[in-house]
């Protein structure tokens, strides 16, 4: 399986004018990107602002993306550069940085959202999600749990997992899917119930 095929399919759709496909890319990489940016800034809200800026830059630059590298590698570079610039800008003139943000109406809206997310309720929601997912993983049969952990934590390909677990690749695909379904079943209930707001926003 050639790497980055699924991302490239979505990227090609965006390049043809399908913004919904970019949505899917944002949903897939938002957590990774925020985590990456947090190497440069400690504040989660600021990291999200920078990640957001990186996504917008990536969208604008996407017509020039030819697929020579993986999409995430390309996005990663944009995010790193955006984070470095933000840090330099903030260190040079922290007051000006804040004023710039305040001068933009959209940024004000964003800050409003960030305040929501920073509330104790927002923190509780994140903890609740973690608790649900971890509980669901613990409840998985061992073969499903091993497959999903090798995939998500170790980043192994299906073929490598098949070798590690001594089973066909098709079985790996099935195990990972079933593991995700089992976790998602519980997660979905929470999202559609108490975390409906998070789903709507995110």
């Amino acid at each position: 399986m050639s790497a980055d095929v699924s991302d490239l399919s979505l990227v090609r759709r965006v390049q043809r004018g399908d913004k919904g496909a970019f949505d899917a890319l944002v949903l897939k990489y938002q957590h990774k990107l925020v985590k990456l940016v947090m190497r440069y800034v400690r504040n989660p809200a600021e990291a999200e602002d920078i990640a957001q800026e990186a996504f917008i830059k990536a969208y604008r630059a996407l017509p020039g993306f030819r697929g020579d590298s993986a999409f995430y590698t390309w996005l990663y570079r944009i995010a790193i550069n955006t984070a470095k610039n933000a840090v330099v800008s903030r260190d040079r003139s922290p007051i000006e940085y804040n004023l710039d943000r305040n001068s933009n109406d959209e940024s004000n809206d964003m800050q409003g959202h960030m305040k929501d997310a920073e509330t104790p309720e927002g923190l509780v929601l994140t903890d609740e999600i973690r608790s649900i997912v971890n509980g669901a993983i613990e409840a998985l049969p061992e073969d499903l749990r091993t497959a999903i952990v090798l995939r998500e934590l170790e980043g192994l390909s299906y073929e490598e997992i098949a070798t590690a677990m001594d089973c066909p690749v098709g079985t790996v695909r099935s195990r990972i899917f079933r593991a995700r379904e089992a976790i998602d079943r519980q997660l979905r209930e929470v999202f559609e119930g108490g975390l409906g707001r998070a789903e709507e926003l995110g």
Partner: protein
């Protein structure tokens, strides 16, 4: 939800779906909000397993990016004005190119005609001195090659041209003068002979 579709979605999320299936599913994923929500939850599961501390899983980042992108032009829409502008400014380019080529061709033909010696003499029409007494013969420009006559007509009556050459013998070299006059002398009998042959043919026919 179709289990096969969900299985494909899971494989696509891991970049383990064949390309052809990816194309189709990407199209559906971009439009189907339920499928997209599931896709987003797969990402949340991955983030929890990787224990990405500090990352807020309920953060509205995707929603914010989505809202900002709604103000951005579609990439296909951005490409269309470029094509339109190309067509708007491009229509006259072939016409201008053709006109330029035609102009160059006309200049080349005129220049060549000025450089080509006339059949009856060594001087070109453009370079020949044109005294006031000299009858100026103008030939209309034509791009149609005329049929070659059996005997080339004399552009200038030979006696007048001979007089002209003699009159200007002071300024012309003897060799050039002799060549010019000899060409008149040799061409006139040929023309006369042709006329005689035509009259003979008419007589024989009668």
């Amino acid at each position: 939800m179709n289990e096969e579709l969900d299985s494909q979605l899971s494989a696509m999320f891991d970049d383990e779906l064949p390309t052809s299936e990816c194309e189709l599913l990407a199209r559906r994923l971009a439009r189907d909000e339920l499928l997209k929500a599931r896709w987003g939850r797969y990402a949340v599961v991955g983030a929890v397993i990787r224990a990405e501390r500090g990352v807020r899983l309920n953060a509205p980042l995707a929603g914010r990016v989505n809202a900002l992108l709604s103000a951005e032009p579609d990439h296909s829409a951005a490409a269309v004005p470029a094509q339109k502008s190309a067509t708007r400014f491009g229509w006259w380019q072939p016409v201008a190119g053709g006109a330029l080529a035609a102009g160059v061709a006309v200049v080349s033909v005129l220049w060549l005609r000025s450089q080509t010696p006339l059949p009856g003499g060594g001087l070109s029409a453009a370079r020949a001195p044109a005294p006031a007494t000299m009858p100026v013969v103008t030939v209309a420009d034509s791009y149609v090659v005329p049929p070659t006559p059996a005997v080339r007509p004399m552009l200038v009556p030979s006696t007048e041209l001979a007089n002209y050459v003699v009159a200007h013998s002071v300024v012309s070299s003897p060799v050039a003068r002799r060549n010019l006059l000899s060409s008149f002398i040799t061409s006139e009998p040929a023309a006369a002979g042709a006329e005689e042959q035509k009259e003979d043919a008419k007589v024989h026919a009668q």
